[in-house]
């Protein structure tokens, strides 16, 4: 292959793929038991980070950015005046193998614009996977895009080689999607998601009965929604996410702050800052649902359709629900301890173990990793100072904001931290 041509292709096809934010390589269970190349690390590895601070774990490329569709939010849309390119199947295989051998990546994330038709595209994606797995004995991670409208047979075969499959909802509601991509519908996404999910369940059931059942999408499925291109509320977004987690056992839902790429009047214009803080608040909410035992309705509801900007959703919830506090660290359920602002999953687990050995004091909580300045408003422990009066939620919020203000000003406003 010619050096310059392959460089040009890679530039075009990596650039077009980068708006898909998922770069997770976790959940893989593939072992290198054929003395080939690669295995997958169950928790994934980020090999580097882009200058915008996102994890780079996979070689994320499109097979081609030619597309017969014209989705307004997408750089590869038919009507967009960009350079087009297409990799051959062998080029993708060679790039993947050579990047992997040098420990640049955990694997391949392969997506594509739709050329000719869905099946034609899916067939080629499948071919890349088969060559890697069967000819190259490659056991690294493969994240494959499911092409909407591809036949069940192709999708099912792809599931035998991919670790994860995903298909993007794009807009959080059907109405939003129709506005920007009239040819598309959430149904196009739901059908293949459900089909893959049924197969995952079926393979898992077979595995209980029969010894040698091949793997089928062992790292599960994910999806992505674009945030801020259309006018949905945070509640709309998270209720959709919640429904998809429940109905299709998704491993992840990604929220991608819209980066303006066109001057169409139906969307934020070029130069508008992507809504990074909002994106972060949505991820925090997602975390609360998945790891902290919160129901989405507790965080977002008709009275609170949007997340607070100035404080994180866990603190918001606590302040709105002061009747549950203060919580006694030495007695309360693990579940309740998890809900205390300033205490994460690791600290909560340590607290529950350590208190068996005696009542915990403030200095011990700090050593365990509790953000005490935040948590102190919501807890009592062995040596809590005696409090004369109960503070209102709004007062506590003011204390915490005042305290974090100085820190906040020093750090960059778009530096994103989870709790």
């Amino acid at each position: 292959m010619s050096f310059d041509r392959i460089r040009e292709k890679l530039n075009i096809l990596a650039d077009a793929a980068k708006y898909d934010v998922s770069c997770s390589s976790s959940g893989g269970t593939r072992k290198n038991d054929n003395k080939g190349l690669g295995d997958s690390h169950s928790s994934g590895i980020c090999h580097t980070y882009t200058e915008d601070g996102r994890c780079v774990s996979l070689l994320k490329i499109l097979l081609t950015n030619h597309c017969i569709y014209d989705c307004l939010f997408c750089v590869s849309r038919k009507s967009n005046d960009v350079k087009r390119a297409a990799f051959t199947v062998d080029e993708v295989v060679e790039l993947t193998m050579n990047f992997y051998r040098r420990n640049y990546i955990e694997g391949l994330f392969l997506s594509s614009g739709i050329f000719k038709n869905a099946d034609f595209t899916m067939e080629r994606l499948l071919l890349v996977c088969k060559k890697l797995r069967l000819e190259q004995k490659y056991n690294g991670y493969i994240h494959l895009k499911t092409i909407p409208g591809a036949s069940d047979e192709l999708i099912k075969e792809a599931g035998l080689y991919a670790d994860r499959m995903s298909i993007n909802l794009e807009m959080p509601t059907e109405a939003g999607l129709k506005l920007l991509a009239p040819e598309k519908s959430h149904q196009d996404v739901i059908k293949p998601l459900a089909f893959v999910q049924q197969n995952i369940t079926q393979f898992a059931a077979d595995k209980k009965l029969i010894k040698h059942v091949p793997k089928f999408v062992p790292a599960g499925q994910s999806t992505q929604m674009v945030i801020g291109a259309t006018p949905e509320s945070d509640k709309d977004i998270m209720y959709t996410a919640n429904a998809f987690y429940k109905n299709f056992s998704l491993k992840r839902v990604y929220y991608s702050g819209y980066v303006p790429i066109s001057n169409d009047s139906r969307m934020p214009v070029l130069g508008t800052q992507p809504p990074l803080l909002r994106e972060n608040r949505l991820y925090q909410t997602d975390w609360l649902m998945r790891f902290y035992g919160f129901k989405v309705q507790e965080i977002l509801n008709d009275a609170n359709p949007n997340l607070d900007v100035d404080i994180d959703p866990k603190l918001s919830w606590a302040i709105r629900n002061m009747q549950h506090f203060p919580v006694d660290i030495n007695k309360a359920d693990y579940k309740m301890i998890l809900r205390i602002p300033g205490i994460g999953v690791m600290s909560a687990q340590k607290i529950v173990q350590a208190r068996k050995f005696g009542k915990l004091r403030i200095d011990q909580l700090k050593k365990i990793g509790v953000a005490y300045n935040r948590a102190k408003h919501f807890i009592t422990c062995a040596d809590s100072p005696y409090q004369l009066r109960d503070y209102q939620g709004t007062q506590i919020k003011a204390f915490i904001l005042a305290e974090s203000q100085s820190k906040y000003l020093k750090t960059d406003s778009n530096q994103l931290i989870l709790f």
């Binding site: 530039n11 980068k18 090999h47 980070y49 915990l360």
Partner: protein, 254 residues
């Protein structure tokens, strides 16, 4: 009273054995490298003995679950002088208490061990992430590193399982030893760098003709994957501290 040991893991375990034989009260443990005689403090030099060490290790295996044995080993690999003393005190504490005492996060040695282990695990994880092999003319995938802690023993299996079909060398330039995988086993090696190869000068090794192509493609890829509108240098540096940049192909000027 100070116990002095030779810095090895068996030495540390022997020290515990000696303490239980003598029960001399409060003792602190130092390695011979960092020990400075004090006028008013007594000291005792531990003679490493593998039988004694084995007995203590067996004892620990009976007391601790796998995850804590791992923490113990990691804390040792930190090579931090104070960590040795914490390991020593921790072991005595565990032997003197009922099973499960390691879960007492109110105990200073428990917390200290957990902390050292966490730092070492983080460094291990970073090496697994940030190592970049270069394909040499003789077909070996080579990298030189200088990790903060002695993590080569911890990463050996990861690389062996993953890169089973290629020969590789990971060389610790600081501790002057490396691992060589020869397609069947991993051997410890030392290299005599006649030309003075170091991490800043890997070019001294003759590279495979394709190496240039792939390192350029990777640098290109790194640039393309960035979204300029989201630039966040602080976050970037928090994830990839500057001291690791020297390893990263994508951070070298092209």
């Amino acid at each position: 009273m100070t116990y002095i040991f030779d810095g090895s893991l068996p030495g540390l375990l022997t020290a515990v054995f000696e303490w239980f034989e003598r029960k001399p009260g409060t003792v602190s443990l130092k390695s011979i490298e960092t020990f400075q005689p004090e006028a008013f403090s007594e000291s005792f030099t531990v003679v490493t003995n593998s039988d004694k060490a084995d007995r203590v290790w067996k004892g620990l295996q009976g007391k601790l679950k796998k995850d804590w044995l791992r923490k113990f080993y990691c804390a040792y690999l930190s090579e931090i002088p104070e960590a040795f003393d914490h390991l020593f005190q921790f072991t005595i504490y565990v032997f003197q208490n009922e099973k499960g005492a390691e879960n007492n996060y109110g105990n200073a040695h428990v917390i200290a061990l957990a902390k050292y282990a966490k730092s070492v695990e983080r460094e291990k994880h970073r090496m697994e992430a940030f190592i970049r092999f270069q394909h040499t003319a003789d077909g070996i995938f080579y990298t030189g590193v200088d990790p903060d802690f002695n993590v080569l023993p911890l990463i050996s299996n990861h690389f062996k399982n993953r890169y089973a079909d290629q020969q590789w060398i990971i060389y610790d330039l600081k501790r002057k030893y490396g691992l060589h995988y020869n397609l069947s086993t991993v051997e410890e090696i030392t290299i005599d760098f006649a030309v003075g190869v170091n991490s800043k000068n890997p070019e001294a090794i003759l590279l495979n003709e394709k190496e240039e192509l792939y390192s350029v493609l990777w640098k290109d890829y790194f640039k393309s994957a960035n979204i300029v509108a989201r630039k966040n240098t602080k976050l970037h540096i928090r994830h990839v501290p500057k001291r690791y940049w020297k390893y990263l192909t994508e951070k070298q000027l092209s």
